[in-house]
């Protein structure tokens, strides 16, 4: 494999890097909650529902470019969030399988609608398969504003979001981020830093998760430039790599939940 230094250019990697940090800013704290609620596939379901919203909008003859699409995607994602928040209250024990079912329904529902709408497929792909390298600074402004608003909300609520508010904010964050960086990176940004720091608590956990996320994005972008590989896929792997390396840091590993449960079982036996 040849090293490729011409791709190592800040004006190429810069916007992508900023996009990654904007996505991380909301996804790290949200991921913490997603993990503790045990609903890790909710982001895939919400993204798919947002895509379905776009297809539906087209089906109803709404303009396919610009603001109309964003409105349709956000409206569908919020409707999905409303539904999931209701099922969460009604059948909390079945929330994870319900999310999985909703994901499959949204994805295949899109295919059923597309059977009559030959061009919708491309737009669905546009929405779900955002590519981090195509991001421009201009596109980042609305996403950054939305992230700031979401972070302010979370800060006002002391980091804890409940019920409909959690689902609604989550839906908006995901709809924006999926279009910037694609669904794989959204999933990884949400789950991997939160998982890597699952044993930590409070502010130090948040800081550690942010550091892991930022290192994952930066190293992924650099490696993808040097080895000439697709950036999005590379970053998913470096995120996981950074999360694994972080386990070598005693403060991150010390109070890992796996050890805690082992201890508890041992105590009970004694």
């Amino acid at each position: 494999m040849t090293l490729n230094l011409e791709g190592l250019d800040l004006s190429i990697l810069g916007p992508a890097c900023v996009a990654g940090l904007v996505v991380l800013s909301t996804h790290v704290p949200l991921g913490k909650q997603v993990l503790s609620r045990g609903i890790i596939f909710i982001d895939l379901a919400i993204a798919q529902i947002a895509g379905l919203g776009v297809i539906l909008a087209q089906y109803l003859g709404i303009d396919e470019h610009g603001f109309g699409v964003q409105l349709a995607a956000a409206a569908a994602a919020l409707a999905g969030a409303g539904l999931l928040s209701w099922t969460d209250r009604r059948w909390p024990e079945y929330q994870e399988p319900l999310i999985g079912t909703l994901f499959a329904l949204a994805a295949t529902g899109g295919l059923l609608l597309l059977a009559d709408n030959p061009q919708g497929g491309e737009h669905l792909k546009d929405l779900l398969v955002g590519q981090i390298l195509w991001v421009s600074y201009a596109q980042l402004i609305p996403a950054a504003v939305l992230s700031a608003v979401l972070l302010a909300f979370m800060w006002l609520r002391g980091g804890k979001l409940v019920g409909l508010l959690f689902y609604a904010l989550f839906a908006l964050a995901i709809t924006a981020s999926v279009q910037l960086v694609g669904v794989y990176l959204v999933f990884a940004s949400l789950i991997v830093p939160a998982l890597a720091t699952a044993g930590m608590k409070g502010r130090s956990r948040l800081v550690a998760a942010y550091i892991i996320g930022a290192l994952g994005y930066v190293s992924g972008l650099v490696l993808s430039a040097v080895f000439d590989l697709p950036s999005g896929a590379m970053i998913v792997w470096t995120l996981a790599g950074c999360a694994l390396l972080a386990q070598a840091v005693p403060a991150v590993r010390r109070s890992h939940p796996a050890h805690e449960t082992e201890q508890a079982v041992f105590d009970a036996a004694a």
């Binding site: 490729n4 011409e6 791709g7 190592l8 250019d9 004006s11 190429i12 990697l13 916007p15 295919l111 597309l114 059977a115 030959p118 061009q119 497929g121 491309e122 792909k125 546009d126 398969v129 590519q131 981090i132 390298l133 195509w134 421009s136 972008l221 993808s224 430039a225 000439d228 590989l229 697709p230 950036s231 999005g232 896929a233």
Partner: protein, 300 residues
């Protein structure tokens, strides 16, 4: 010391000689990269953005792609909306206004008359490209027209090498016309035969060879066909026994065409579709050598 002085001086002299700045060409697809090489040889540097084994409707973004477009003097792509999913973003990210429009932007499909150009834009008819079907590389006649236009563009951008470009075009035209006559003679038994395709990417080849496309497995890209469509396609394929093959491009999944082949007894054939699509398709000549040979193989 003396022993080292001469090589060091030589090296320094080499390094300080301003290298003749070569024209840099970015080709979106391998067939155009190959054509540029035919016409310009080592007078230009060519980078190709995609390979024969991928669907050029969509690509994975890599930093090197943006870097290559940034330094390009000329961009040679198919156009007619084939690359609409990624080329605009790529050009925008590269910030290279030279290739965004004007002389630095060469769109092959715009140089020839396209087929399947809708007379009225009506979305009800499905996957409509307002500029017609973009896959013009599968007609050697059109390739020659494109070669001439591309050569003129190279001359415009790099007049210092005009003589080379002219001479290489003459040589290419001569060899291409001879090859076309040979292909046409070889392909005589294919004339009038019917074909079923995976996706409607082959109209220019059928148009050139006088073959008829009677059906498509996946009329809308990305949308699985309905059972009613498949049932009627089986009937159409069997009908009359004149169906030569079920054709797909090298990058396409073989399952649908093998499925239809199992049910109809008509052979499924994978064609290279562009330079690099199979071992034989090393250049544009190999592409058509292989395509004709594979179609003739199905006729046996």
């Amino acid at each position: 010391m003396k022993l080292f002085a001469i090589p060091v001086l030589l090296l320094a002299a080499l390094a300080s000689t301003p290298a003749q700045a070569k024209l840099k060409v970015f080709a979106c697809e391998p067939e155009w990269g190959s054509l540029v090489t035919e016409l310009a040889g080592d007078k230009v540097d060519v980078d190709v953005g995609t390979s024969a084994l991928q669907d050029v409707h969509q690509i994975e973004a890599k930093p090197s792609l943006i870097a290559k477009v940034r330094s390009a003097d000329l961009m040679v792509c198919t156009g007619a909306e084939l690359e609409v999913g990624w080329l605009p973003q790529l050009i925008r990210q590269s910030g290279n206004s030279k290739v965004a429009s004007g002389q630095g932007s060469f769109m092959a499909a715009a140089q020839v008359k396209t087929l399947e150009k809708p007379t009225a834009l009506d979305r009800a008819y499905g996957d409509v490209h307002p500029d017609g079907n973009p896959h013009v590389q599968m007609d050697p006649r059109r390739v020659l027209v494109i070669a001439k236009a591309l050569d003129a563009r190279l001359v415009q951008l790099d007049p210092a090498n005009a003589a080379t470009y002219q001479q290489r075009l003459d040589s290419f035209s001569k060899r291409w016309l001879a090859a076309m006559a040979k292909w046409k003679a070889e392909a005589a038994p294919l004339k009038g035969r019917n074909v079923v395709v995976h996706h409607i990417s082959w109209v220019y080849l059928w148009d050139w060879l006088g073959m008829n496309q009677i059906g498509a497995l996946e009329p809308k890209p990305g949308v699985p066909p309905t059972s009613a469509h498949l049932a009627s396609l089986i009937a159409t394929t069997k009908n009359g026994g004149n169906t030569l093959a079920i054709v797909r491009a090298a990058y396409q999944d073989g399952k649908p065409s093998e499925w239809l082949s199992d049910r109809t007894g008509v052979p499924a054939v994978s064609l290279p579709f562009t330079v690099g699509g199979d071992a034989q398709s090393k250049d544009l000549f190999g592409l058509f050598d292989s395509t004709i040979a594979k179609l003739l193989g199905a006729a046996k």
